[in-house]
């Protein structure tokens, strides 16, 4: 870990994502959150590690599975929860729901659930920064499924061509809905290698090791900021719950319980605690205080969301 002072914040980001999503899962059966939710429980380290490498003024774009990226970038827990509850106080004023989060105050520019489609938009955002002479970096999150979309390739080609300040962050969780890699991509061909063909610098990493993620992201972000162009990071990780919704779904049989248990052991939070408490890099006390704060935050956000009013009118169709 290149920057041990960052450890508490990495933990905090991961735990916030975990607890917010667990709370969503707990409450979903009340049927008050009336929109699809794609939870990233189990994958928190990618979001936390990568976002922690960004400045507040840097930009992030994401996908259907975006709660982690939104919270990692520092998005408002209240506004997110209210959005999922469909309330006027939501980050998109009820027009978006879980799949369309935004928090401009922290550079979280938006998530959209069409696979692959926010990738070129993120690249364009970086292009815009260059055109305007702004020194920001844009990070684009997506799953390994998105690398099968042609637009991913078009985006990488342009980013390399123009040496844009983009970090492509691919969370490879082995599945697209219930479909394993084997029906979608050639056996034995790593995901990052299709990016590499475009001449972009690529790295593969352990997506559940938040410090490793942070280090990879930090280098990529620094390079981008210094005009060194884009980087593609493939981070291996695993979604614990169902593709969409609050439940576990190993009973469906599309993946083995062994595989699941294997990854369950690689829980990014447990791994963090085991490692850094043992080494003394963080104190149990500190982690407990963080956890307590997050519990309060989450409870507050749920109360805020539940008590907020519903929107009276949909957002108008044209910008004035």
């Amino acid at each position: 870990m290149s920057d041990p002072a960052k450890l508490p914040i990495l933990y905090e980001l991961m735990l916030r994502i975990r607890r917010v999503e667990e709370r969503i899962a707990d409450l979903y059966s009340e049927q008050e959150m009336r929109c699809p939710v794609h939870l990233c429980i189990g994958q928190e380290a990618t979001a936390a590690g990568a976002c922690a490498a960004l400045e507040r003024t840097d930009h992030v774009y994401s996908t259907h599975r975006s709660h982690g990226h939104y919270l990692g970038k520092g998005g408002s827990v209240r506004a997110m929860m209210a959005e999922i509850y469909g309330k006027a106080t939501g980050c998109s004023k009820g027009n978006g729901g879980s799949m369309h989060l935004v928090d401009l105050s922290v550079g979280y520019m938006g998530s959209t659930p069409i696979v692959g489609s926010s990738i070129p938009i993120g690249v364009g955002d970086a292009f815009g920064a260059v055109l305007r002479g702004e020194k920001r970096v844009t990070m684009v999150f997506f799953g390994e499924g998105a690398t099968e979309e042609g637009v991913f390739h078009e985006s990488v080609n342009f980013a390399v061509l123009r040496k844009l300040p983009v970090v492509f962050l691919c969370e490879n969780n082995l599945y697209s809905v219930y479909s394993p890699m084997s029906v979608r991509q050639p056996a034995g061909r790593e995901v990052y290698s299709v990016a590499q063909g475009h001449g972009i610098e690529c790295h593969q990493g352990a997506g559940n090791d938040v410090a490793a993620v942070y280090d990879l992201a930090r280098k990529a972000v620094r390079k981008a900021r210094e005009g060194g162009g884009p980087t593609f990071l493939e981070l291996k990780t695993y979604r614990w719950r169902e593709h969409c919704g609050p439940n576990f779904d190993n009973d469906l049989g599309y993946r083995t319980v062994e595989e699941y248990e294997e990854w369950r052991k690689l829980c990014p939070l447990e791994a963090f605690e085991k490692r850094y408490l043992a080494s003394g890099a963080v104190a149990a006390d500190e982690l407990r205080r963080i956890a307590e704060r997050i519990e309060r935050e989450v409870a507050d956000a749920v109360a805020f969301a539940k008590s907020s009013p519903f929107p009276q009118e949909a957002q108008g169709v044209y910008a004035p």
């Binding site: 009820g94 027009n95 729901g97 069409i114 637009v151 049989g253």
Partner: protein, 352 residues
């Protein structure tokens, strides 16, 4: 013998029959062989027909549409599925420039027997990118056929007819119909493309409907009947080719036209139907025709907003009364009190 089947079961049965009868039929799409089987409509096919003919695919909608087209040129009869019509927007170039035109632009030498199933979402926060209803687009493109069944009976018969058709067919299924039950004959039958269905007869006004809005139209017609107004409901079933004859015949009889569609109003399905009536039987029109369609707005996600966004039976009922020149009654809700408006029936509890 006629049994009751649900809409998704009717789709599955049609696919199974088509695949049994013709070894060149195959089905491909994201999640086709997965445990959910396209909301049940492809379940069991993999077991019966094997991996070669029941396929998952990469998340590459455009490329895989081209692949389907090419395989059709090579003699196969592919069925391609999209769990949301919104995803198919990636493949518009292949559908419109290639599939729709291949037969004509090569002087009739080849054909593209291809069915593309597209599901229209509604409710439970599907939101702006998971609930568009773009039939007007496909119906505007010469060379495509466009089908929108409203009943399990038609789902089966139209899907079989679509698979057996030698042209590219856009087969649009409304997600809220999936759980609906209805009588479905066993075995092979087809409902021919291009023929509308008079779902209910009446002399006072004509309600032309598509897909799920047929159900809402029938509910409205029920109440209108209680009030002494006999609405005729014409379920279009096929948008292209369009059954102008059945529509005009009804309008000539009733003199009043209301069109209700699952898509946006402006430049949508309703416009063409009203234009046909104005062109074809202007003199019969006793009142200005009216459209009950989606407002021209991206779908809002919050249930509170969606409830106001989507037209339902009550809106059809109100407009029908206006058409009849009856003053604006408020009308009691069609739905039992407290029933949420963003789910079709209790069997649908989300999230998908």
């Amino acid at each position: 013998m006629t049994r009751e089947l649900r809409f998704f079961q009717a789709l599955r049965e049609a696919t199974e029959i088509a695949m049994s009868r013709d070894p060149s039929v195959y089905i491909m799409g994201l999640g086709v062989p997965d445990p959910k089987g396209i909301f049940g409509s492809t379940l069991g096919l993999r077991e019966k027909f094997g991996e070669a003919r029941v396929l998952d695919m990469p998340t590459s909608e455009n490329g895989m549409t081209g692949v389907a087209i090419g395989s059709a040129l090579a003699g196969m009869r592919p069925i391609l599925t999209h769990q949301r019509i919104d995803f198919a927007l990636l493949s518009i170039e292949q559908i419109v420039n290639q599939a729709a035109k291949w037969h004509t632009m090569f002087g009739g030498l080849m054909k593209v027997p291809l069915v593309i199933r597209m599901i229209v979402g509604r409710g439970w926060g599907q939101g702006p990118q998971h609930s568009q209803s773009l039939q007007a687009w496909f119906a505007h493109v010469p060379g495509l056929k466009v089908v929108m069944p409203a009943t399990p009976h038609d789902a089966k018969g139209l899907l079989l007819a679509s698979i057996e058709d030698d042209n590219p067919v856009i087969f649009i299924e409304h997600r809220w119909l999936y759980g609906m039950s209805g009588p479905v004959p066993e075995g092979h039958y087809t409902v021919p493309l291009g023929i509308a269905r008079v779902a209910r007869e009446g002399r006072d006004l004509t309600i032309v409907s598509t897909s799920y809005m047929t159900l809402e139209a029938l509910r409205a017609a029920e109440r209108l009947a209680e009030e002494g107004i006999a609405a005729e409901v014409v379920d279009l079933r096929t948008l292209s080719p369009l059954d102008e004859g059945t529509v005009l015949e009804s309008v000539r009889k009733t003199g009043r036209l209301l069109v209700t569609d699952t898509g946006w109003k402006t430049f949508g399905i309703g416009a063409e139907i009203i234009a046909r009536a104005a062109e074809g039987c202007l003199a019969s029109l006793r009142a200005a025709p009216v459209r009950v369609c989606l407002p021209d707005l991206p779908t809002p996600t919050s249930a509170a907003l969606a409830a106001r966004f989507y037209p339902r039976a009550i809106h059809i009922w109100k407009e029908a009364r206006n058409l009849m020149g009856l003053a604006g009654a408020e009308g009691r809700p069609f739905e039992p009190p407290g029933v949420p408006l963003d789910v079709p029936d209790p069997s649908f509890v989300g999230p998908f």
